[in-house]
């Protein structure tokens, strides 16, 4: 606990130095190096939190009569581990990546503060500290998003992010206000002790979903995420996608699972529905996207959906008194959050390396990078396979666990759950398959084939620090896929604390097989599958080379006899997505194409135009924006009144409030 507190203070303390050292050419090294070490400290503190008993700490900072309450329990510990892990990786990557940043002072000062704020959110034990940390997290990350404010689109991204962040903070303020109740106990312990009635609980659920969900990127509150995450420098993008979304999930878990009490089953239904919608819509957006970083941001939305599916299941099971199922579902969700931190950070690092090497993240200008950036390509491939949910990597295990949790109880009596769980199972399966298509496209277009631009043809492999960070995370992805039991057993105390049950111990099995419920029901062994595949590959290669031919001849591509030297004849990113856009996009995005083909003899260039509409923008935010402007225009008249009328307004307000008060009692 003290380690965590000191580390956070040190990170906050590191921030001003960032502004100072930014003037020197190597000024980034002490800041990122320091962040790396301090993140390792957070990681360690998180592990102690997971293993040990709950610890409390009251710091004499903050509001004089409240102080700052900190608490390190298993839940905080788990998310502290995620923060430390993601932060350490991003810092390691940043040491190399930010070598040629034009404005280091715009990043260096805020980076450690951002890390500290995220860690503080996780540790906060009273509403004031929580909100303070939450808003610090929003503001520092907003400053980081605006670091390259002169690039096209970044200013708009920052603006939308700020609006959504304010909105989210407001919703959380309301949440805590409701939870504190009339007694006004702003410490989390007081909130745990009070049990709000049904209506209040419902409102709290909604505001928590808005507050934490908008930060996490839950549809339809996700709109800022694919704008803001890619706008930040890449190592910060990795932090925002890999860690900040997890901190938001922590907020949701802390409020709904811990502070709110046992809950109702329909809460699970709402969360399940939102999760399924988020997963499918996020991955569909990612499929259509041509900018690599924005593609990754949309894929974050998808993965948040998967995590929320697990959380919704856990809520529903817990409310219906099925603790074991709740434990399994929550473990699956948390494990997916852990995995997502790993592979999304890795993928952002890879995207950053590509961005740095080619100067562009536009898929249509990339291609053939595997030849000149072999290490980056290898690590990025590992990340793609992991996020696509392919065995034997880690993404598969968490999705598999979620499926297992869904199949546990078809006989629940609640109709809402009976209908939503199968639909969500299908949605999750669909999202997983679409994610595979999405990342075949991302890797295939960016790294394979022939270069589509001069910049892509002339790339050089990225620096050693970045490669080290990528390979480290790729190895962790593989390790978490091969021996998931090691992570799952660590999550055990978290599930125990929140649902009253956890998965049976996994590392006891001689073969390290994962058995969520019973061996006859389901089991999976990543290690065995991996060994099996490796041995088969070795055997086959040896046998084929031994008995068959080893000869190899290089020649021009066959391509049905008509190879074309122009790289423009390759499939483009838009072309690759076209069948899927036609299947899914016509309904979801009202996408369409207009082909303008000039008649023979006309020298005009032929043109094909795609249209894609974002349903959330069209149906929710644009009407909202129009409504706001309409109201603002009406209210404009109020700004030109006489003093007498202003006084009248004040008077009427007072009377209305008084009357409301009398009616209330």
């Amino acid at each position: 606990m003290t380690v965590a507190a000191w580390t956070i203070l040190a990170l906050f303390g590191l921030a001003p130095f960032g502004a100072l050292t930014a003037r020197f050419p190597a000024g980034r090294v002490p800041i990122y190096g320091g962040s790396l070490i301090l993140c390792a400290g957070l990681f360690y503190a998180g592990l102690t939190g997971l293993a040990g008993p709950t610890e409390h700490l009251i710091l004499p900072l903050g509001l004089p009569w409240i102080g700052t309450h900190l608490r390190l329990d298993a839940v905080s510990g788990f998310f502290l581990v995620l923060t430390g892990m993601g932060g350490a990786g991003a810092s390691l990557f940043a040491v190399g990546y930010t070598g040629h940043d034009a404005h280091p002072e715009r990043v260096l000062a805020f980076y450690p503060a951002f890390l500290a704020a995220m860690a503080l959110v996780v540790l906060a034990d009273d509403a004031f500290t929580f909100l303070f940390a939450w808003e610090s997290m929003s503001l520092t990350s907003w400053a980081l998003v605006k670091a390259h404010h002169r690039q096209a689109g970044n200013a708009q991204a920052g603006f939308i992010y700020l609006i959504m962040a304010t909105f989210s903070g407001l919703a959380l303020l309301l949440t805590f206000g409701l939870l504190a109740g009339p007694a006004g106990g702003y410490s989390f312990d007081a909130m745990r002790a009070s049990h709000p009635d049904l209506a209040v609980a419902a409102v709290v659920l909604v505001t928590a979903l808005i507050g934490a969900g908008s930060k996490a990127g839950l549809v339809p509150l996700h709109v800022w995420l694919p704008l803001a995450h890619p706008a930040a420098p890449t190592h910060v993008s990795a932090l925002m996608s890999g860690v900040m979304t997890k901190v938001a999930i922590y907020g949701f878990i802390r409020i709904v699972f811990d502070l709110l009490g046992p809950g109702q089953w329909w809460a699970g239904t709402v969360v399940l529905a939102l999760g399924g919608l988020t997963a499918v819509l996020g991955v569909l957006h990612a499929l259509m996207e041509r900018d690599l970083k924005r593609l990754l941001a949309y894929s974050t939305v998808e993965n948040i959906g998967i995590v929320f599916i697990g959380l919704g299941l856990a809520l529903a099971f817990r409310a219906t008194g099925f603790q074991a199922g709740a434990g399994l579902a929550l473990t699956a969700a948390l494990f997916h959050a852990f995995n997502h931190t790993l592979f999304k950070s890795l993928l952002f690092f890879g995207a950053g390396a590509v961005l740095k090497a080619t100067g562009s993240g536009d898929l249509e200008t990339l291609g053939g990078l595997i030849h000149r950036m072999p290490w980056t390509a290898f690590a990025f491939l590992a990340g793609c396979a992991a996020i696509a949910g392919l065995p034997p990597l880690n993404g598969f295990v968490s999705e598999w666990l979620t499926f297992q949790a869904m199949l546990l109880r078809p006989d629940l009596p609640q109709w809402g759950l009976k209908l939503i769980i199968p639909v969500d199972a299908a949605a999750l399966a669909l999202a997983a398959a679409l994610a595979a298509a999405c990342f075949v496209r991302a890797f295939g277009i960016a790294f394979l084939g022939r270069p589509r631009s001069e910049a892509a043809a002339q790339v050089r492999e990225t620096d050693a620090w970045s490669i080290a960070a990528m390979l480290l995370f790729a190895m962790l992805c593989l390790a978490a896929g091969l021996v998931p039991g090691a992570v799952l057993d660590r999550i055990g105390p978290v599930a125990q604390a929140l649902t009253g049950a956890n998965m049976p111990r996994q590392m006891g099995d001689a073969w390290l097989t994962i058995v969520p419920v019973a061996a006859s029901r389901s089991s999976y062994n990543g290690l065995l599958v991996f060994a099996f595949i490796a041995v088969s590959v070795l055997l086959t290669t040896t046998a084929v080379h031994w008995f068959g031919s080893r000869a190899i001849r290089r020649g021009p591509a066959w391509d049905c006899g008509f190879p074309d030297p122009s790289p423009a004849t390759q499939y483009s990113a838009a072309g690759f997505a076209q069948p899927l856009r036609r299947v899914f996009g016509t309904v979801v995005f009202q996408s369409g194409e207009t082909v303008d083909m000039p008649p023979p003899g006309d020298n005009r260039a032929a043109k094909i135009e795609q249209r894609i509409a974002d349903p959330v923008w069209d149906w929710l935010y644009l009407p909202l924006g129009r409504g706001t402007i309409w109201v603002a225009n009406r209210m404009n008249a109020v700004q030109f009144l006489t003093i007498r009328r202003y006084l009248g307004l004040v008077f009427i307000t007072l009377i209305v409030l008084l009357m409301a008060l009398t009616l209330w009692q």
Binding site: W415, L419, V583, T586, V587
Partner: protein, 223 residues
């Protein structure tokens, strides 16, 4: 729906479920001739189901109903419709059904809805009849959906026929439906069919199409 009900329940349930499955095939199929094959299959499954009900309920009257279903609905009506579309030259027609995926999804939602409505209402009823009625309601609703999503008057007739099959299924599932009612329903359908057939020819003579959208436009600006 547990194994405790035994084989007779399983088969009855299976046949009713099969009818729902064929209804979905109908929803999926957008070629007119193939749609008529599916209609024949639909009625065939219905007749099997009715015959099985006759067997387990020990009601010989239902065998006649099954025979009627087989003769009229599985063979006669599809054949007649088939001749009709050949004479109209519609047999190569492919209809534009608005998004098969969406339509199927709507179909599933309808099945869920009918189960949701029927199962809690019939808690005290005979378990065999319960599931049968729920599935029959799904067949009726999907038949309606077929009629709504089709543009062609003939496939709307097909949808209507499948709807009627659903009503039949419900009727036989509930024990003690008098044979007279059954026969009268069958004949009413036949008459409806003849009337519709005649109308179709009249419509075609007049408008040179049986596309319902084109026919609508002849109503003269009342829409």
């Amino acid at each position: 729906m547990t194994a405790a009900h035994g084989l007779s329940f399983d088969i009855a349930h299976m046949l009713a479920g099969g009818l729902v499955l064929v209804s979905f095939m109908m929803l999926y199929q957008d070629r007119l001739t193939a749609l008529l094959h599916v209609l024949g299959l639909h009625a065939f499954v219905l007749s099997l189901s009715v015959a099985w009900q006759a067997h387990i309920q020990d009601a010989p009257g239902l065998y006649i109903a099954a025979g009627i279903a087989l003769g009229f609905k599985a063979i006669l009506v599809p054949q007649a419709l088939r001749r009709m579309i050949f004479r109209m030259g519609l047999h190569r027609e492919i209809e534009t059904v608005g998004g098969i995926g969406l339509t199927m999804l709507a179909g599933i939602a309808l099945v869920a809805l009918s189960l949701r409505v029927m199962l809690p209402v019939t808690v005290h009823a005979d378990p065999v009849a319960r599931e049968d009625i729920a599935l029959a309601l799904s067949v009726v609703l999907i038949g309606l959906l077929t009629m709504v999503t089709r543009r062609n008057a003939i496939s709307q007739v097909v949808g209507f026929m499948s709807l009627e099959n659903g009503i039949n299924l419900a009727a036989t599932g509930a024990r003690g439906m008098p044979l007279v009612v059954e026969i009268s329903v069958a004949f009413s359908v036949l008459i409806a069919f003849i009337v519709i057939g005649v109308f179709l020819f009249r419509i075609r003579e007049r408008f040179d199409t049986v596309d319902a959208v084109a026919i609508d436009s002849a109503r003269g600006g009342q829409r």
